[in-house]
Amino acid sequence: MTDTATDPLQAGFDATIGHGDRIEPRDWMPEGYRRTLVRQVAQHAHSEIIGMQPEGAWIGRAPSLRRKAILLAKVQDEAGHGLYLYSACETLGVSRGELTEKLISGAQKYSSIFNYPTLTYADVGTIGWLVDGAAICNQVPLCRTSFGPYGRAMIRICKEESFHQRQGYELLMTMMRGTDEQRAMVQESVNRFWWPALMMFGPPDDESPNSAQSMAWGIKRNSNDDLRQRFVDMSVPQAQALGVTFPDPELRWNAERGHHDFGQPDWDEFMQVVKGNGPCNTQRIAHRRKAHEDGAWVREAATAYATKQAAAVHDQEGAA
């Protein structure tokens, strides 16, 4: 612990956090706080950008113009969310280029959920309902996170995320009103995504090494297990209304606790996916790297054009 009596900067920071106030970019902050935020916000931004891929794969195969327009709008939103978060991260003194480089070199992570493939069109609905639903559970408390720019980005994102979840659920409801085959497709998709969705909240609290410090700094507002419980409690009645089940024999209401009991995801699988051995890790990064490299000439051309324009203005002023 830093001795706050001899360190007025640390004391000021502690007081701001103690009051539940926000830290803003020009405030002094401990290096560990800055580093933790860079890691978390970057990972969050990368998740939005990589998250465009699993659903993007279905844009060209959407079953109607309506569904295609909706899916395009959603994937476009993910790009926007990534940009809000990269901007927030840049206020901590890292550059956009550095963040992109760390994503495609694997030095920084993104959410493990996006390393699972989207095998059927029902996955578009399941991702909206469960994956975006879990993201909302995670993100709503982050609107009150202690770093101002991150919290403000989260507020914008949460506002837009509601459409994502509802379109997914509506898509699944439509399929459930269809044929037996379509209903089976929904159930199969839910079976595949349920456990990875639960993993989105991170490892159990007693195995989450950074959680306590992040909570003390007000970066995180709720523990992984609390948020996971909240998500399960919210999802069960939604599944009942939809007419699907979750693939967990231990899932049942516990009247004493006032919550659902549920089984644990396969944490070994989680660790494997985080380490890069999930079904799609290689493909996701390769795709992102290719998009970045293929876009190099556009960035170069725009810079060359801007330089030329600036030179022209300079010449005109010189001549005048």
Binding site: R22, F163, Q165, Q167, M234, P237
Partner: protein, 97 residues
């Protein structure tokens, strides 16, 4: 002694009302340089504790869309009602959505 006729540049002023909120545009003022603009902004726009932080930027450095172009500028989002959550009908018996 030559008379200085050049007018001080115009600055736009943005104030953060409290920690956690965005800086919001509150108005403008003239000043000879950035430091003076900040000091004047404090005196003109935050005499009653309206803010915890001020940004000033020369008006000429702001690139802005033209109000006349409002319609074509924002047309692309006009016909995309499906970007709003209310576009999707979710039955009343589905909670938390």
């Amino acid at each position: 002694m030559s008379e200085v006729k050049a007018e001080w540049p115009l600055y736009e002023v943005f104030v953060r009302g409290k920690r956690g909120l965005n800086h919001v545009h509150v108005g403008s003022l003239h000043a000879a340089d950035d430091d003076m603009a900040l000091r004047h902004a404090r005196d003109v726009y935050t005499r009653r504790n309206e803010g915890v932080s001020i940004w000033v930027v020369q008006s000429k450095d702001i690139a802005a869309s033209s109000p006349d172009e409002k319609d074509p500028m924002f047309a692309p989002s006009n016909d995309k009602v499906y970007r709003h959550p209310t576009f999707y009908e979710i039955p009343d018996n589905v909670p938390h959505m």
